[in-house]
């Protein structure tokens, strides 16, 4: 095999895509498992292990090809999933650079929000990075901003509208569920209430993990396969190579197992005090909303739904206080995820473009690694692990460093 510059760039893209899948895993462990860990229905270690296994199984269940994943927001692929011919003229260099810069933007944003302990949407980060890199490379027309007619598509239909709607829907459902559950079990002893609901909670949390594995690992598989087709290493648009599936499944499962403890802590302890009946109501609401939306083709972010549900479960239980300061920080992070991941993606593309050739790809890979390593090193100042993930939430100590100067 001849190692061409394109081959090196392709390898970097695949590596970056798997790294993104890994961040996707640890960013989203909280979605399924935060409430089970907070109510001690599962020990922290057991929760991440269960979630990781189910993500792994889920990733292998996604037999259907998700090759058209980028078509939701940008125009670099034909409708059958094959890349646009003008992008693969130069051994796929143009296409690979867009993917590389987009993924680097998404990873940078994911690691930063993890450092701040904020659950932000990994799919928004991916879409944001790709949109930014595409605007930098092909101009504004390369982005599909809004769908045509009543088919929900583009940045508006697949990202903005679902992000506005889905957390509210989940919140309402969880609020109603929590209210009903506490009303029905009002006369029961608190201790029995807690133990009675644990099994239900674990079952719904497992359902969420499985569904996450099928949905999210698929996205990375699509991106990797697109890169392989673009550089001429794969031709089928109806199948993906087995090693891609295996690698993506392992990446998302190991990410899940590592556990984004900071984010688990914020979601399980930071928003509201969660009790078992409430946790089950929240997880059921999330599962119902996610599966119904997937049936209707409504593209939503698991993160938004699960956070909405947890807040709703707090609104539904009498005597619970929702920490709106924490919720507001999250809301802000959601709003800026797409544009900021986009800015980083665009910046990465420009850096690579100015350096040119293979050096450009290597440079942004190095920048991305440096940022991620710095943030990881920085996080050692206040480590959060399975040992202290459930400690009492102290607003002053737990507020992210960058905004702790505020009043809340």
């Amino acid at each position: 095999m001849i190692v061409t510059p394109e081959f090196i760039l392709l390898s970097l893209v695949v590596l970056t895509a798997l790294a993104f899948d890994f961040t996707n895993g640890f960013h989203d462990t909280a979605n399924a498992m935060a409430t089970s860990i907070a109510t001690k229905a599962l020990s922290p270690k057991a929760a991440v292990t269960l979630s990781a296994i189910l993500n792994l199984v889920g990733a292998f269940l996604s037999v259907e090809v998700a090759l058209t994943v980028t078509n939701a927001v940008i125009r670099i692929q034909n409708s059958d999933g094959s890349p646009r011919p003008e992008l693969i003229a130069d051994g796929g260099y143009a296409l690979l650079l867009i993917l590389m810069a987009g993924l680097a933007g998404a990873i940078t944003w994911n690691v930063l929000t993890w450092r701040l302990g904020l659950p932000s949407s990994s799919s928004h980060a991916l879409f944001g990075g790709l949109v930014g890199a595409t605007v930098a490379s092909l101009g504004w027309a390369g982005v599909k901003w809004i769908g045509e007619g009543t088919k929900l598509d583009g940045v508006v239909g697949k990202v903005v509208l679902p992000a506005l709607i889905s957390p509210v829907v989940a919140m309402v459902v969880a609020m109603i569920g929590t209210r009903l559950v506490f009303w029905i079990t009002a006369k029961l002893a608190r201790r029995y209430q807690e133990s009675g609901f644990r099994w239900g909670q674990v079952a719904t949390a497992s359902l969420l993990s499985l569904s996450h594995g099928t949905n999210d690992a698929q996205k990375t598989m699509g991106v990797v396969t697109l890169a392989l087709i673009g550089s001429g290493h794969w031709t089928s648009t109806t199948e993906i190579p087995f090693w891609v599936k295996l690698a993506c499944a392992l990446a998302i499962a190991s990410g899940t197992y590592i556990g984004g403890w900071r984010i688990i802590r914020t979601m399980g302890r930071g928003l509201v005090e969660v009790f078992s009946p409430q946790g089950m109501a929240a997880d059921s609401a999330s599962a119902a909303v996610i599966l119904t939306s997937s049936q209707l083709g409504f593209a939503l972010s698991t993160t938004h739904v699960c956070t909405g549900s947890i807040i709703g479960s707090g609104l539904g239980r009498k005597g619970a206080t929702v920490r709106w300061g924490v919720a507001a920080r999250m809301g802000l992070a959601w709003v800026v995820t797409l544009p900021l991941a986009g800015l980083v993606g665009a910046g990465m593309w420009w850096i690579a473009h100015l350096i040119g050739g293979i050096g450009g790809g290597v440079a942004i890979f190095a920048i991305m690694c440096a940022v991620a390593l710095y943030l990881w090193w920085h996080s050692k100042q206040d480590p959060v692990s399975h040992h202290n993930v459930n400690d009492e939430w102290a607003e002053s100590a737990d507020a992210p460093a960058s905004v702790s100067g505020g009043t809340n």
Binding site: E64, V169, V172, L188, F298
Partner: protein, 99 residues
């Protein structure tokens, strides 16, 4: 504008089914939990004493429906993963391969 209307159209369906399944099933589970404590003392089943048959029947029926719903959810995820669309004609599921 069409996009907003399309999103709102999806919203009320998700909300309706969400409330039915997402709030209804935990409520049903709660009925089961409560039933087991019917003859107990201090709002919990008495340890070592089997709850009366009626209570057990109600509880297992509730838990059964909830477990069935979770299994259906898993089936749905698996079918989707294998590229099979599930549509509901009334309440009878219809399976069609995706294209």
């Amino acid at each position: 504008m069409d996009q907003v209307l399309a999103a709102l159209d999806a919203t009320w369906r998700i909300l309706l089914i969400g409330i039915l399944l997402g709030a209804g099933l935990p409520a049903l589970f709660a009925v089961g939990v409560r039933a087991l404590a019917w003859s107990g003392t201090d709002g919990a089943p008495t340890p070592g004493v089997r709850p009366p048959l009626k209570a057990r029947l109600v509880a297992y029926l509730c838990f059964g429906v909830a477990i069935l719903a979770v299994l259906l959810g898993i089936t749905y995820i698996v079918l989707h993963g294998f590229g099979i669309n599930v549509t509901f004609n009334g309440v009878i599921p219809v399976f069609t391969p995706k294209h």
